[in-house]
């Protein structure tokens, strides 16, 4: 047993080994990645529901689509929260931003008669401006972003309610679906892709069919496409570009980063804008899927986004984390949240189980990471 590892790790003589570098096997390097714990958590969660809810329809096409949609939705904001946390800041206004952005789309469309495309552009521009303000106030005043964005949480939620009452005299603004018709934005945020593929799957009895012959799942909803696209972009930027190094630098030690010439302030402001952008994508997907904006949309989603990022291995102190991890975190949260419903746990106990499952996933994740990286 003792000699075997030596044979495997060092099959041929390595003449130019730098003795200053500790030797690490590929396996060990892989295990030390921040997303590892979250990946293990995902396996654990699937094992749990595979045994407790395996035959309840949770893993049938429409059941799977149900937890994938919820996960994807959360993933959209979790990606923003994760990259901002790596950059050393928090945004607690994400949930309120979702509600506000939804109103920025619905109100002009329904009450001012703007073309829906223009309303969407307006919402994105408005959200980016608010993100810019959040960032600017944070970097200029040096106040913790926790406090600054907590203020935005209240201001934006309040504005959402006040403006919707002011213009429409109600807090649910519906009629967006009718106003949008078959505009490109409807497809962009609420369409489905791969529809013919699912019809083919149903025809070959690979997925269930409705009594009228349609497949139980029409296609992949755009919310999933957005989630994956945002995640890929954020992941590539964070791990493969100079900007990514700047983000790690700004979050790890902003003074040191400044001293070596990283434009820390611009990086942070940009990250706040990206977070607001993600929240607006979330809002747009909901508004166009359900055809309405409501002033209570997105309540508490900021915490879910941060939880997903932390499960995914982001440190609350900044400078460490990964997008892939946040994706796994969002997947854990979505699967647990919907999966519990499939197991038929009584509603009164729902939150206890949700909390317990999350705690187990995080503890497990943490344990694996410590054991592997030998952190203290």
């Amino acid at each position: 047993m003792a000699e075997q590892p030596a044979i495997i790790t060092d099959p041929k003589p390595a003449p130019m080994r730098d003795e200053r570098l500790a030797h690490q096997s590929t396996l060990r390097r892989m295990m030390a990645r921040p997303e590892l714990g979250a990946f293990a958590g995902v396996l654990l969660v699937f094992a749990f529901f595979g045994t407790t809810a395996g035959n309840t329809g949770m893993f049938a096409a429409d059941g799977a689509m149900s937890w994938m949609t919820v996960s994807a939705q959360l993933m959209i904001v979790a990606v923003g929260a994760a990259i901002l946390m790596v950059g050393g800041e928090f945004d607690l206004s994400v949930g309120s931003m979702i509600g506000f952005a939804g109103m920025m789309i619905a109100l002009p469309t329904v009450y001012f008669g703007w073309p829906v495309e223009l309303s969407v552009l307006f919402a994105f521009a408005g959200a980016l401006a608010i993100g810019f303000l959040n960032g600017l106030i944070t970097v200029r005043t040096g106040l913790p972003s926790f406090i600054v964005t907590l203020a935005s949480l209240y201001i934006l939620r309040g504005l959402t309610i006040a403006l919707s009452i002011l213009f429409s005299n109600r807090t649910i603004v519906s009629g967006v679906k009718e106003a949008a018709g078959d505009s490109i934005v409807t497809f962009l945020f609420a369409g489905t892709i791969g529809n013919s593929f699912f019809v083919w799957l149903a025809e070959n009895d690979l997925i269930d069919r409705l009594p009228n012959g349609d497949p139980t799942v029409k296609g992949v909803p755009m919310v999933i496409v957005w989630a994956l696209a945002l995640a890929v972009v954020a992941h590539v930027v964070l791990t493969r570009t100079r900007l990514g190094n700047w983000i790690f630098g700004a979050g790890g030690d902003s003074n040191a980063a400044r001293n070596v010439g990283v434009p820390v302030n611009s990086v942070k402001i940009g990250l706040f804008m990206f977070t607001a952008f993600c929240a607006t994508v979330y809002a747009a997907c909901q508004v166009f899927e359900f055809g309405s904006a409501a002033s209570d949309r997105g309540l508490l989603k900021e915490f879910e986004a941060i939880i997903a990022a932390v499960i995914g291995g982001c440190l609350l102190t900044g400078g460490y984390g990964s997008i892939v991890g946040a994706m796994f975190g969002a997947l854990i949260f979505g699967v647990v949240q919907q999966g519990i419903l499939f197991t038929g746990v009584p509603n009164d106990w729902f939150r206890v189980f949700l909390g317990a499952m999350l705690l187990v996933a995080v503890l497990f994740n943490n344990m694996i990471r410590r054991r592997v990286t030998a952190e203290r």
Binding site: D62, I172, F290, A294, R297, F342, N347
Partner: protein, 325 residues
Amino acid sequence: MRQEDEHVKTGIVRRALLAAALTLPFVGLAATAHAEGERFVFVSHAPDSDSWWNTIKNALKNAEKDLGVTVEYRNPSTGDIADMARIIEQATASNPAGIISTIADYGVLENPLKAAIAKGIPVMTVNSGTAEESKKLGALMHIGQPEYDAGKGAGERAKEAGVTKFLCVNHYITNTASVERCQGYADALGVELGGQMLDSGQDPTDVYNRVKAYLTANPDTDGILTLGPNSAGPTIKLLRDTSSASKYKSFISFDLDGDIAQAIKDGIMEAAIDQQPYLQGYLPVVLLAQYARYGVMPANNVNTGPGFVTKANIALVEKLAGEYR
């Protein structure tokens, strides 16, 4: 003798076992003929903090016991209707024998509920929403209280008492059903609703002071309608604090709780409109279970309200308030 005894005994045991083995399949058959143990999902729009739904939860528990079925009660924890849509999608995927849902927002819930129906799952609507919306969805039945009619019923009582100018304390102005209640009341009196509906907010201190301000500014008001415990409680307190209950010819509230029951007993409040939520929980489960077993379903919608609770019947109601009433 002993040996024989042993033989007889084993013989009896054997025969008993054989009999059991023979009858077991029939027991099984009998059970499948009734197909007991169906699973239903009840989806509400209420946030976790809404205690009014406790009555419905108790009704579901009773229905489970009485019928030998399971009912899962589900709700979006923050009351976000978009989350409610996801819960309905999840429920559809789990292939229950029936889904019971409120129509809190037709636009949002239309697609998920229609998808459930398209999958062949029987759907019933309860509580929020109208009979027309329920029909448009293709649901089997709507069980609830027509809000406009309930408000009108209260208005008719007020008219009998001689009310001419009223105040409708609305603590839930964002809900269209709440406005219909005030409108029905106004129509029964034959007056314009106009500014007589007050947006009181939910906070007890706010409700108290806004009602106080309104009644001070409009001293000729002689009728009050509150839309539920949230607006009734502070209004009752105000009338007690100012000993001004006798000034109002009619004070009626929607729904019931301890404060309202006490106010009825004390003669401060004339009546409470009870939509009998117990029935909104119990009936759909009973009907869906019979539908799943024998394919029978009444053709009409069911109005569980308005029932009026007055001094005459308060004793029984009060004993069960919050639990079954």
